[in-house]
């Protein structure tokens, strides 16, 4: 409880800190892309291997790697932007995520593993295409369902209305001919 009263005093401090926010950032935030092979200081970084498990594919490189990165990136939502994928976005965090995907794919992790890793970290929200399971099936089944129901209605209507032949020339053309002939 003593802490509570002490901390509530912080609110006053918060107000004091406000002028700091007026500082203009005049250099753009710099993106620090992962250093090239061999430059990494030994032992630094984050452990991801035990969460990802063993790589299930083979290490990719060159154009094949580029394609795989592009495919994965197109399906991952850029966390900072709104509807853009990390493939489209130029935001710093999107660039970092592309670099991470590249690094994992080059180590032999499969596309599914890489997508799964992002999902595990950021939640399902990061997938631009919802996984087709459970409630999500609504969104996958709806378009086909609508076309089917609509198609059925159209078929019923056509059946109702098919009665005898009715010859109809393009009356408009007849009208044009009449108009232009005078």
């Amino acid at each position: 409880m003593r802490r509570a009263t002490a901390l509530s005093g912080l609110l006053a401090l918060l107000a004091l800190a406000a002028p700091a926010s007026a500082q203009e950032p005049d250099t753009p935030p710099r993106v620090t892309l992962p250093p090239a092979e061999g430059e990494v200081r030994p032992g630094l970084g984050v452990e991801t291997s035990h969460e990802l498990g063993d790589p299930l594919g083979r290490p990719l490189s060159g154009e094949e790697l580029d394609r795989a990165v592009a495919e994965v990136a197109a399906d991952i939502r850029c966390p900072k932007c709104q509807a853009l994928s990390i493939a489209d976005s130029g935001a710093a965090s999107a660039q970092a995520m592309r670099a991470e995907a590249r690094s994992l794919l080059s180590q032999g992790y499969t596309r599914e593993q890489v997508v799964g890793y992002f999902e595990q970290r950021y939640g399902e929200f990061v997938l631009l295409e919802p996984r087709a399971r459970g409630l999500n099936l609504i969104v996958w089944a709806a378009p086909a369902g609508i076309v089917l129901i609509g198609g059925l209605l159209v078929a019923l209507r056509l059946r109702q209305r098919r009665r005898g032949a009715d010859e109809n020339l393009d009356t408009y053309l007849r009208q044009v001919e009449q108009e232009t002939a005078t």
Binding site: P28, A83, I138, P143, G164, E167, D170, E179, T180
Partner: protein
């Protein structure tokens, strides 16, 4: 003082709209000419009040009167004049006031231009429009009051409008276009309500309705295109459509609006689909309100949405009220709209129109479900999910391909379609054109099945469009002494207009398909003197400079572009940093040509003077915009009165409008 004046105008608008609604319905029920006159005057008064309110707000913005809360919110002394003018619609309250202005102008136009030839319906039409006006003025007067006095102390300067809205002129045109589209859908809606209340749907309803539907649909088309163009020129991701929830919201009424335009043709020619056309128009209107709700309530994640505000629940209430009114009205009155008997076959013009409507409505539902599903998932599963571009592309592309096919097959088929020989010939003749489309695509290196199918369909549709569009001109010389081709066109400009619109759609369609399939990109960190290569382009980074401007700091890179050693000029992609903005906002540099665009974005600037540069080449992007311009021109043609209509409005001629009812196609 300014506040009070503005609020006065809004109050005047509210009173005019409220009484106008009541008098209009009474006049409609009693078929009273005097009542209609009064309603028309109140409609004009409403328009005047809205113009006045907006004029006051513009005056307050331009004179930097920070005692008006909206000015304190979006105004700033440093903002350039033209941006101050546009800031009327840059934020929530102002945009709703602007909405009121456009509604006022539409109401005045409807009251003026529909005086003759629509008398049966006009009182109900105006009453419904003024009912919508009542809601919007109520909104402006209460929860979204832009004129509220700023609580003291009145600031000496304001923050200025959102920086994203400041850096391109397109932002000045895109929102008004979109609003003209959105708000304009109220007019056909009001006419549909009038038709249901009257229990009849004749030619004096159908022709004005189609015109009033065509205008906002065209504005919506232009608005959506300008939004995509803005996104392309400003946001720096190299694309123009991200299936963002708010983009989708503008897309929904567009889809049903176009479906209604097409079903209206069937109604005009065959006297069928009356109830269906009315339903489509009503859905279109409800979707504009839904779209406005999504944009303004802040319930969806979107670049465009305004911040969460008390307007959300009020708008939802209005949407609910409208939906309830529509459903009840339809249930009570729809049986009064009796279609004329006719037979329909699948393989006929009517059949093609039915399938067209099926595809448009399916597309609308698909986009609607995809847009709203995240809310469902969060409510029922408690998990946030995204439904984004990959999903929408996967679902929409087949439906669009179907529409493309119909655009070729439909106009080729004869009405009725009962003669198999005629049908077969109509479908076989354009096949060489389809083959040409296929070969062209193969020559350009297309190998994927979807692109090849789209190319063949496009070739087919292009042939049919040209054939049908030019038919009146070609039909002319068959008779001796016929008038010139212009006269032939002027008999029914809407027919040529329709095929011009189709041509525009084809151009845009092909451009979208090609640009999204053949986009190439490269990305690299460059030091001064380094070169990035992509698709024959050599881009040499010459250096970056930091420019201090009044309201932003710009980091600008100089990139020399050449192909095969020949200089193609210099591009200056930049990163803009606005005070109080978290991420720098990139402004891409685009080199546009007929064949393709080169698109450069600056990703970052290092403290050592190096830059991250991203280059994208996209073929045919410019044709997307060109196609839309063609569509709008085609719409303009459609608005020219036909020979029959011109005769009808000149007093001497026999009024043949009444003589050719909706089913006058035989």
């Amino acid at each position: 003082m300014t506040s009070a004046l503005g609020q006065g105008f809004v109050l005047l608008g509210l009173i005019a709209a409220g009484f106008g609604t009541a008098f209009g319905y009474i006049a409609g029920v009693r078929r009273s000419a005097a009542g209609l006159r009064l309603t028309r005057r109140l409609a004009l008064l409403f328009a005047v009040a809205m113009v006045g309110a907006c004029a006051v707000m513009w005056y307050a913005l331009l004179s930097h009167d920070f005692s008006v809360s909206y000015v304190a919110q979006v105004g700033s002394l440093a903002t350039p004049l033209h941006i101050t003018i546009f800031s009327l619609w840059s934020s929530l309250e102002g945009s709703i006031l602007f909405w009121g202005l456009i509604l006022g102008l539409y109401i005045a136009a409807a009251a003026t231009f529909q005086r003759r030839g629509h008398e049966d319906y006009l009182a109900y039409t105006l009453a419904t429009l003024l009912g919508i006006g009542t809601f919007f003025t109520f909104l402006i007067a209460s929860v979204a009051d832009p004129f509220a006095p700023t609580p003291p102390p009145v600031p000496v300067d304001g923050p200025g409008p959102n920086p994203l809205l400041q850096n391109h002129l397109l932002m000045a045109i895109h929102p008004p276009m979109l609003y003209l589209g959105y708000v304009g859908m109220s007019v056909p809606f009001a006419m549909a309500v009038a038709a249901l209340l009257r229990g009849q749907l004749g030619a004096t309803w159908l022709r004005p309705m189609r015109r009033w539907l065509l205008v906002p649909t065209s504005f919506l088309t232009a608005g959506i295109m300008l939004g995509g163009w803005w996104s392309y020129e400003v946001l720096g991701w190299g694309g123009y459509w991200a299936w963002d929830p708010v983009e989708n919201a503008s897309f929904l009424p567009w889809l049903t609006g176009i479906a209604a335009l097409h079903s209206g043709i069937v109604q005009q020619r065959r006297g069928t689909l009356k109830a269906w056309t009315v339903i489509l128009i009503m859905i279109t209107f409800l979707l504009t309100i839904l779209g406005t709700f999504l944009t303004r309530s802040g319930v969806v994640n979107s670049v465009h949405s305004f911040t969460q505000s008390p307007i959300g629940p009020v708008f939802l209430g209005f949407l609910g009220l409208c939906a309830a009114a529509v459903v009840v009205l339809l249930a009570l009155r729809i049986d009064t709209l009796v279609s004329e008997p006719s037979n329909e076959r699948l393989v006929s013009r009517e059949g093609a129109f039915l399938l067209n409507n099926l595809l448009f409505v399916s597309l609308m539902f698909t986009v609607l479900v995809g847009t709203l599903y995240p809310i469902v998932a969060e409510s029922l599963r408690g998990v946030k999910v995204s439904v984004g571009e990959p999903y929408f592309n996967r679902m929409a592309v087949p439906l669009f391909a179907g529409l493309l096919l119909l655009m070729g097959v439909g106009p080729a088929l004869p009405w009725g379609g009962s003669d198999p020989k005629l049908v077969r010939r109509a479908l076989v003749r354009p096949l060489p054109a389809a083959a040409v489309g296929l070969v062209v695509a193969l020559l350009f290196g297309a190998r994927s099945a979807p692109v090849l199918i789209v190319s063949a369909f496009a070739g087919f549709a292009l042939w049919v469009t040209a054939d049908q569009g030019l038919r009146p001109v070609r039909a002319r010389p068959r008779r001796q002494g016929g008038r010139g081709p212009l006269a032939a066109v002027l008999v029914a400009p809407d027919r040529l207009g329709a095929y011009v619109v189709h041509l525009g759609v084809l151009i845009t369609f092909v451009a979208v398909a090609v640009s999204s399939t053949f986009q190439r990109e490269a990305e690299s960190t460059l030091r001064a003197g380094d070169t990035l290569r992509l698709g024959g382009y050599e881009m040499t980074f010459r250096g970056a400079e930091r420019v201090q401007e009044p309201h932003l700091i710009r980091h600008q890179a100089e990139v020399e572009v050449s192909t095969n050693g020949r200089s193609r000029g210099t591009l200056y992609p930049s990163l803009n940093i606005y005070p109080n903005q978290r991420e720098p906002i990139g402004t891409p540099a685009v080199r546009t040509s007929a064949g393709h665009d080169l698109y450069l974005t600056l990703m970052n600037v290092g403290s050592d003077g190096s830059i991250g540069l991203r280059a994208i080449t996209t073929p045919l992007v410019a044709w997307i915009w060109i196609g839309v311009v063609v569509m709008v021109l085609g719409t303009a043609l459609c608005l020219i009165p036909t020979a029959a209509e011109r005769r009808a409005t000149t007093p001497r001629a026999v009024p043949d409008l009444a003589a050719s009812p909706a089913g006058g196609g035989r």
